[in-house]
Assembly symmetry: C2
Homo-oligomer: 179 residues x 2
Protein backbone atom coordinates (compact mmCIF):
# COMPACT_ATOMS: atom_id res chain seq x y z
CA UNK A 1 0.00 0.00 0.00
CA UNK A 2 1.19 3.42 -0.82
CA UNK A 3 -0.21 5.41 2.03
CA UNK A 4 -1.95 2.88 4.14
CA UNK A 5 -5.41 2.96 5.51
CA UNK A 6 -5.49 6.74 5.50
CA UNK A 7 -6.01 6.96 1.78
CA UNK A 8 -8.92 4.58 1.90
CA UNK A 9 -10.99 7.25 3.59
CA UNK A 10 -10.43 9.62 0.70
CA UNK A 11 -13.20 9.74 -1.83
CA UNK A 12 -10.95 10.61 -4.70
CA UNK A 13 -9.65 8.88 -7.80
CA UNK A 14 -6.30 10.57 -7.32
CA UNK A 15 -5.95 9.04 -3.87
CA UNK A 16 -7.01 5.67 -5.29
CA UNK A 17 -4.33 5.92 -7.94
CA UNK A 18 -1.67 6.99 -5.47
CA UNK A 19 -2.46 4.05 -3.24
CA UNK A 20 -1.15 1.88 -6.03
CA UNK A 21 1.50 3.90 -7.82
CA UNK A 22 2.35 6.44 -5.13
CA UNK A 23 4.96 4.41 -3.34
CA UNK A 24 8.61 5.22 -3.57
CA UNK A 25 10.19 3.86 -6.78
CA UNK A 26 6.90 2.60 -8.21
CA UNK A 27 6.41 5.21 -10.93
CA UNK A 28 10.05 4.90 -11.94
CA UNK A 29 9.60 1.16 -12.36
CA UNK A 30 6.56 1.82 -14.55
CA UNK A 31 8.52 4.43 -16.51
CA UNK A 32 11.27 1.93 -17.19
CA UNK A 33 8.72 -0.71 -18.13
CA UNK A 34 7.19 1.66 -20.67
CA UNK A 35 10.69 2.46 -21.94
CA UNK A 36 10.99 -1.25 -22.67
CA UNK A 37 12.87 -2.57 -19.67
CA UNK A 38 11.59 -6.04 -18.86
CA UNK A 39 14.16 -7.93 -16.86
CA UNK A 40 14.85 -7.90 -13.15
CA UNK A 41 18.51 -7.12 -13.54
CA UNK A 42 17.89 -4.32 -16.00
CA UNK A 43 15.52 -2.59 -13.60
CA UNK A 44 18.09 -3.16 -10.88
CA UNK A 45 21.09 -1.55 -12.56
CA UNK A 46 19.14 1.21 -14.25
CA UNK A 47 17.26 2.35 -11.17
CA UNK A 48 19.87 1.63 -8.51
CA UNK A 49 17.03 0.30 -6.37
CA UNK A 50 17.58 -2.18 -3.51
CA UNK A 51 16.77 -5.71 -4.60
CA UNK A 52 14.20 -6.29 -1.87
CA UNK A 53 12.31 -3.14 -2.83
CA UNK A 54 12.41 -4.03 -6.52
CA UNK A 55 11.03 -7.50 -5.78
CA UNK A 56 8.27 -5.98 -3.68
CA UNK A 57 7.33 -3.39 -6.33
CA UNK A 58 7.33 -5.92 -9.16
CA UNK A 59 5.08 -8.18 -7.11
CA UNK A 60 2.66 -5.37 -6.28
CA UNK A 61 2.56 -4.06 -9.83
CA UNK A 62 1.94 -7.58 -11.11
CA UNK A 63 -0.87 -8.11 -8.62
CA UNK A 64 -2.44 -4.83 -9.67
CA UNK A 65 -2.32 -5.80 -13.32
CA UNK A 66 0.11 -3.08 -14.32
CA UNK A 67 2.86 -5.51 -15.20
CA UNK A 68 2.58 -9.09 -16.34
CA UNK A 69 5.12 -11.69 -15.30
CA UNK A 70 5.94 -13.89 -18.23
CA UNK A 71 8.22 -16.90 -18.57
CA UNK A 72 10.31 -16.31 -21.67
CA UNK A 73 12.63 -19.28 -21.42
CA UNK A 74 12.49 -22.54 -19.52
CA UNK A 75 16.11 -23.58 -19.00
CA UNK A 76 17.18 -21.79 -17.04
CA UNK A 77 13.78 -20.46 -16.02
CA UNK A 78 13.67 -16.76 -16.78
CA UNK A 79 10.78 -14.37 -16.31
CA UNK A 80 10.22 -10.93 -17.72
CA UNK A 81 7.87 -8.22 -16.61
CA UNK A 82 5.85 -6.76 -19.47
CA UNK A 83 3.76 -3.65 -19.10
CA UNK A 84 0.03 -4.25 -19.59
CA UNK A 85 -2.58 -1.98 -21.10
CA UNK A 86 -3.39 -0.74 -17.63
CA UNK A 87 0.28 0.06 -17.09
CA UNK A 88 0.66 1.75 -20.46
CA UNK A 89 -2.33 3.92 -19.53
CA UNK A 90 -0.07 5.57 -16.97
CA UNK A 91 1.93 7.11 -19.80
CA UNK A 92 0.02 10.41 -19.73
CA UNK A 93 0.82 10.71 -16.03
CA UNK A 94 4.52 10.15 -16.65
CA UNK A 95 4.58 12.48 -19.62
CA UNK A 96 2.92 15.22 -17.57
CA UNK A 97 5.33 14.64 -14.70
CA UNK A 98 8.32 14.76 -17.00
CA UNK A 99 7.06 17.91 -18.65
CA UNK A 100 6.56 19.58 -15.28
CA UNK A 101 10.02 18.53 -14.12
CA UNK A 102 11.60 19.88 -17.28
CA UNK A 103 9.71 23.17 -17.26
CA UNK A 104 9.69 23.95 -13.59
CA UNK A 105 12.61 22.15 -11.99
CA UNK A 106 15.32 20.91 -14.24
CA UNK A 107 15.35 22.93 -17.43
CA UNK A 108 17.25 20.35 -19.46
CA UNK A 109 15.88 18.57 -22.46
CA UNK A 110 17.15 15.12 -21.71
CA UNK A 111 14.79 13.21 -23.94
CA UNK A 112 12.45 14.16 -26.74
CA UNK A 113 9.31 12.26 -27.67
CA UNK A 114 8.25 12.10 -31.29
CA UNK A 115 5.27 10.78 -33.19
CA UNK A 116 6.44 7.68 -35.06
CA UNK A 117 4.05 8.25 -37.99
CA UNK A 118 5.09 11.77 -38.91
CA UNK A 119 8.12 12.65 -36.80
CA UNK A 120 6.42 15.56 -35.07
CA UNK A 121 7.23 16.25 -31.47
CA UNK A 122 4.75 15.09 -28.84
CA UNK A 123 3.53 18.13 -26.99
CA UNK A 124 2.92 18.43 -23.24
CA UNK A 125 -0.67 17.30 -23.52
CA UNK A 126 0.10 14.33 -25.71
CA UNK A 127 -0.75 15.65 -29.13
CA UNK A 128 1.60 15.70 -32.11
CA UNK A 129 2.88 19.16 -32.97
CA UNK A 130 2.99 18.30 -36.67
CA UNK A 131 -0.22 16.41 -37.38
CA UNK A 132 -2.25 17.21 -34.27
CA UNK A 133 -3.31 13.68 -33.47
CA UNK A 134 -3.37 12.40 -29.91
CA UNK A 135 -0.40 10.06 -30.04
CA UNK A 136 -0.95 6.65 -28.44
CA UNK A 137 1.94 5.48 -26.31
CA UNK A 138 2.83 2.72 -28.76
CA UNK A 139 3.41 5.33 -31.48
CA UNK A 140 5.84 7.39 -29.44
CA UNK A 141 9.53 7.28 -30.27
CA UNK A 142 11.91 8.37 -27.56
CA UNK A 143 14.94 10.23 -28.85
CA UNK A 144 17.87 11.20 -26.62
CA UNK A 145 18.21 14.94 -26.23
CA UNK A 146 21.41 16.93 -26.65
CA UNK A 147 22.03 17.23 -22.93
CA UNK A 148 21.88 13.54 -22.15
CA UNK A 149 25.10 11.93 -20.96
CA UNK A 150 26.56 10.24 -24.03
CA UNK A 151 28.49 7.55 -22.14
CA UNK A 152 26.50 6.30 -19.16
CA UNK A 153 27.90 3.57 -16.95
CA UNK A 154 25.15 0.97 -17.06
CA UNK A 155 24.16 -1.05 -20.14
CA UNK A 156 20.50 -0.13 -19.84
CA UNK A 157 21.22 3.59 -20.04
CA UNK A 158 23.49 2.86 -23.00
CA UNK A 159 20.75 0.93 -24.74
CA UNK A 160 18.39 3.86 -24.15
CA UNK A 161 20.76 6.18 -26.05
CA UNK A 162 19.40 4.85 -29.31
CA UNK A 163 16.06 6.18 -30.55
CA UNK A 164 13.46 3.70 -29.47
CA UNK A 165 9.75 3.15 -29.75
CA UNK A 166 8.01 2.95 -26.39
CA UNK A 167 6.71 -0.40 -25.10
CA UNK A 168 9.02 -2.36 -27.39
CA UNK A 169 11.48 -4.53 -25.50
CA UNK A 170 14.87 -3.05 -24.80
CA UNK A 171 17.88 -4.87 -26.22
CA UNK A 172 20.71 -4.56 -23.75
CA UNK A 173 22.77 -7.25 -25.42
CA UNK A 174 25.06 -9.74 -23.67
CA UNK A 175 27.14 -8.33 -20.87
CA UNK A 176 30.42 -9.28 -22.50
CA UNK A 177 29.60 -7.20 -25.56
CA UNK A 178 28.73 -4.14 -23.54
CA UNK A 179 32.27 -3.52 -22.34
Amino acid sequence: MALGKDYVTQECSIARALEIVGERWTLLVVRDAIYGVRRYNDFLVHLGIPRAVLSSRLRTLTEEGILEKRRYQETPPRDEYVVTERGAALWPVLRALGHWGREHIDGHRLRVFRHADCGGEVEPYGTCAACGTLVPVADVVMVPGPELDSAPADPVSRALLRPKRLLEPLETGPAHLAD
Copy 2:
Protein backbone atom coordinates in the same frame (compact mmCIF):
# COMPACT_ATOMS: atom_id res chain seq x y z
CA MET B 1 13.90 14.50 -0.44
CA ALA B 2 11.56 12.11 -2.02
CA LEU B 3 13.85 9.26 -2.86
CA GLY B 4 17.17 10.37 -1.57
CA LYS B 5 20.47 10.39 -3.30
CA ASP B 6 19.48 7.59 -5.63
CA TYR B 7 17.26 9.75 -7.77
CA VAL B 8 20.01 12.27 -8.28
CA THR B 9 21.85 9.77 -10.43
CA GLN B 10 18.89 9.51 -12.77
CA GLU B 11 19.10 11.64 -15.87
CA CYS B 12 15.38 12.04 -16.18
CA SER B 13 12.87 14.81 -15.72
CA ILE B 14 10.42 12.34 -14.27
CA ALA B 15 12.88 11.42 -11.54
CA ARG B 16 13.58 15.12 -10.95
CA ALA B 17 9.88 15.76 -10.52
CA LEU B 18 9.40 12.78 -8.23
CA GLU B 19 12.23 13.95 -6.00
CA ILE B 20 10.02 16.90 -5.15
CA VAL B 21 6.45 15.68 -5.37
CA GLY B 22 7.00 11.93 -5.05
CA GLU B 23 6.92 11.74 -1.28
CA ARG B 24 4.02 10.29 0.59
CA TRP B 25 1.13 12.77 0.93
CA THR B 26 2.79 15.46 -1.19
CA LEU B 27 0.62 15.17 -4.30
CA LEU B 28 -2.50 15.03 -2.15
CA VAL B 29 -1.49 18.27 -0.47
CA VAL B 30 -1.02 19.84 -3.89
CA ARG B 31 -4.38 18.46 -5.01
CA ASP B 32 -6.09 20.04 -2.02
CA ALA B 33 -4.25 23.31 -2.62
CA ILE B 34 -5.51 23.36 -6.21
CA TYR B 35 -9.00 22.55 -4.93
CA GLY B 36 -8.73 25.75 -2.89
CA VAL B 37 -7.66 24.50 0.52
CA ARG B 38 -5.29 27.03 2.05
CA ARG B 39 -5.25 26.65 5.82
CA TYR B 40 -3.26 24.27 7.96
CA ASN B 41 -6.28 22.93 9.78
CA ASP B 42 -8.23 22.38 6.60
CA PHE B 43 -5.43 20.28 5.12
CA LEU B 44 -5.26 18.45 8.42
CA VAL B 45 -8.89 17.40 8.72
CA HIS B 46 -9.39 16.77 5.02
CA LEU B 47 -6.32 14.60 4.52
CA GLY B 48 -6.17 12.91 7.93
CA ILE B 49 -2.42 13.41 7.80
CA PRO B 50 -0.21 13.51 10.91
CA ARG B 51 0.55 17.08 11.92
CA ALA B 52 4.32 16.63 11.82
CA VAL B 53 4.15 15.26 8.28
CA LEU B 54 1.87 18.07 7.14
CA SER B 55 4.23 20.67 8.58
CA SER B 56 7.14 19.02 6.81
CA ARG B 57 5.32 18.82 3.47
CA LEU B 58 4.10 22.41 3.62
CA ARG B 59 7.63 23.56 4.38
CA THR B 60 9.13 21.57 1.51
CA LEU B 61 6.46 22.67 -0.96
CA THR B 62 6.96 26.28 0.09
CA GLU B 63 10.72 26.00 -0.32
CA GLU B 64 10.24 24.52 -3.77
CA GLY B 65 7.98 27.36 -4.82
CA ILE B 66 4.91 25.18 -5.25
CA LEU B 67 3.05 26.84 -2.39
CA GLU B 68 3.44 30.32 -1.02
CA LYS B 69 3.06 31.02 2.69
CA ARG B 70 1.12 34.22 3.19
CA ARG B 71 0.12 36.12 6.33
CA TYR B 72 -3.54 36.93 5.95
CA GLN B 73 -4.21 38.43 9.36
CA GLU B 74 -1.96 39.82 12.05
CA THR B 75 -3.86 39.36 15.30
CA PRO B 76 -3.81 36.54 15.89
CA PRO B 77 -1.10 35.81 13.32
CA ARG B 78 -2.53 33.47 10.71
CA ASP B 79 -0.84 32.14 7.60
CA GLU B 80 -2.29 30.50 4.55
CA TYR B 81 -0.65 28.41 1.89
CA VAL B 82 -1.55 29.48 -1.63
CA VAL B 83 -0.66 27.44 -4.67
CA THR B 84 1.75 29.20 -7.03
CA GLU B 85 1.94 29.03 -10.81
CA ARG B 86 4.50 26.26 -10.47
CA GLY B 87 2.11 24.37 -8.24
CA ALA B 88 -0.86 24.91 -10.53
CA ALA B 89 1.28 23.52 -13.36
CA LEU B 90 0.97 20.15 -11.64
CA TRP B 91 -2.73 20.09 -12.50
CA PRO B 92 -2.22 18.01 -15.68
CA VAL B 93 -0.38 15.42 -13.60
CA LEU B 94 -3.22 15.22 -11.08
CA ARG B 95 -5.87 15.15 -13.78
CA ALA B 96 -4.07 12.31 -15.53
CA LEU B 97 -3.68 10.43 -12.26
CA GLY B 98 -7.32 10.90 -11.40
CA HIS B 99 -8.38 9.76 -14.82
CA TRP B 100 -6.22 6.65 -14.57
CA GLY B 101 -7.58 5.87 -11.12
CA ARG B 102 -11.14 6.25 -12.31
CA GLU B 103 -10.70 4.22 -15.50
CA HIS B 104 -8.43 1.48 -14.24
CA ILE B 105 -8.93 1.15 -10.50
CA ASP B 106 -11.97 2.69 -9.01
CA GLY B 107 -14.66 2.97 -11.65
CA HIS B 108 -16.63 5.63 -9.82
CA ARG B 109 -17.23 9.13 -11.11
CA LEU B 110 -16.70 10.98 -7.88
CA ARG B 111 -16.05 14.39 -9.37
CA VAL B 112 -16.55 15.92 -12.78
CA PHE B 113 -14.48 18.76 -14.19
CA ARG B 114 -16.13 21.27 -16.48
CA HIS B 115 -14.96 24.16 -18.60
CA ALA B 116 -16.21 27.34 -16.87
CA ASP B 117 -16.67 29.23 -20.14
CA CYS B 118 -18.93 26.78 -21.93
CA GLY B 119 -19.86 24.08 -19.44
CA GLY B 120 -18.29 21.29 -21.48
CA GLU B 121 -16.63 18.46 -19.69
CA VAL B 122 -12.85 18.48 -19.43
CA GLU B 123 -11.55 15.40 -21.17
CA PRO B 124 -8.71 13.16 -20.02
CA TYR B 125 -6.10 15.14 -21.90
CA GLY B 126 -7.31 18.51 -20.66
CA THR B 127 -9.37 19.70 -23.58
CA CYS B 128 -13.00 20.75 -23.42
CA ALA B 129 -15.39 18.25 -24.97
CA ALA B 130 -17.71 21.04 -26.11
CA CYS B 131 -15.45 23.75 -27.48
CA GLY B 132 -12.18 21.89 -27.86
CA THR B 133 -9.97 24.41 -26.14
CA LEU B 134 -7.22 23.35 -23.80
CA VAL B 135 -8.75 24.41 -20.51
CA PRO B 136 -6.37 26.26 -18.14
CA VAL B 137 -6.66 25.14 -14.55
CA ALA B 138 -8.18 28.45 -13.47
CA ASP B 139 -11.10 27.87 -15.85
CA VAL B 140 -11.96 24.45 -14.50
CA VAL B 141 -15.05 24.03 -12.34
CA MET B 142 -15.18 20.96 -10.14
CA VAL B 143 -18.65 19.48 -9.79
CA PRO B 144 -19.44 16.66 -7.38
CA GLY B 145 -20.41 13.46 -9.15
CA PRO B 146 -23.45 11.34 -8.36
CA GLU B 147 -21.47 8.77 -6.41
CA LEU B 148 -19.86 11.19 -3.99
CA ASP B 149 -20.86 10.88 -0.35
CA SER B 150 -23.48 13.57 0.20
CA ALA B 151 -22.85 14.02 3.93
CA PRO B 152 -19.15 13.76 4.69
CA ALA B 153 -17.91 14.19 8.24
CA ASP B 154 -15.38 16.99 7.89
CA PRO B 155 -16.22 20.59 6.98
CA VAL B 156 -13.72 20.69 4.13
CA SER B 157 -15.35 17.77 2.35
CA ARG B 158 -18.72 19.44 2.92
CA ALA B 159 -17.45 22.67 1.40
CA LEU B 160 -16.20 20.71 -1.60
CA LEU B 161 -19.73 19.41 -2.26
CA ARG B 162 -20.61 22.70 -3.90
CA PRO B 163 -19.47 23.27 -7.48
CA LYS B 164 -16.27 25.23 -7.25
CA ARG B 165 -13.76 26.83 -9.55
CA LEU B 166 -10.25 25.49 -9.05
CA LEU B 167 -7.60 27.66 -7.38
CA GLU B 168 -10.20 29.88 -5.75
CA PRO B 169 -10.07 29.78 -1.96
CA LEU B 170 -12.36 27.33 -0.24
CA GLU B 171 -14.90 28.76 2.17
CA THR B 172 -15.31 26.33 5.02
CA GLY B 173 -17.14 28.83 7.18
CA PRO B 174 -16.86 29.14 10.95
CA ALA B 175 -16.76 25.85 12.81
CA HIS B 176 -19.85 26.62 14.86
CA LEU B 177 -21.91 27.03 11.69
CA ALA B 178 -20.76 23.76 10.23
CA ASP B 179 -22.59 21.65 12.77
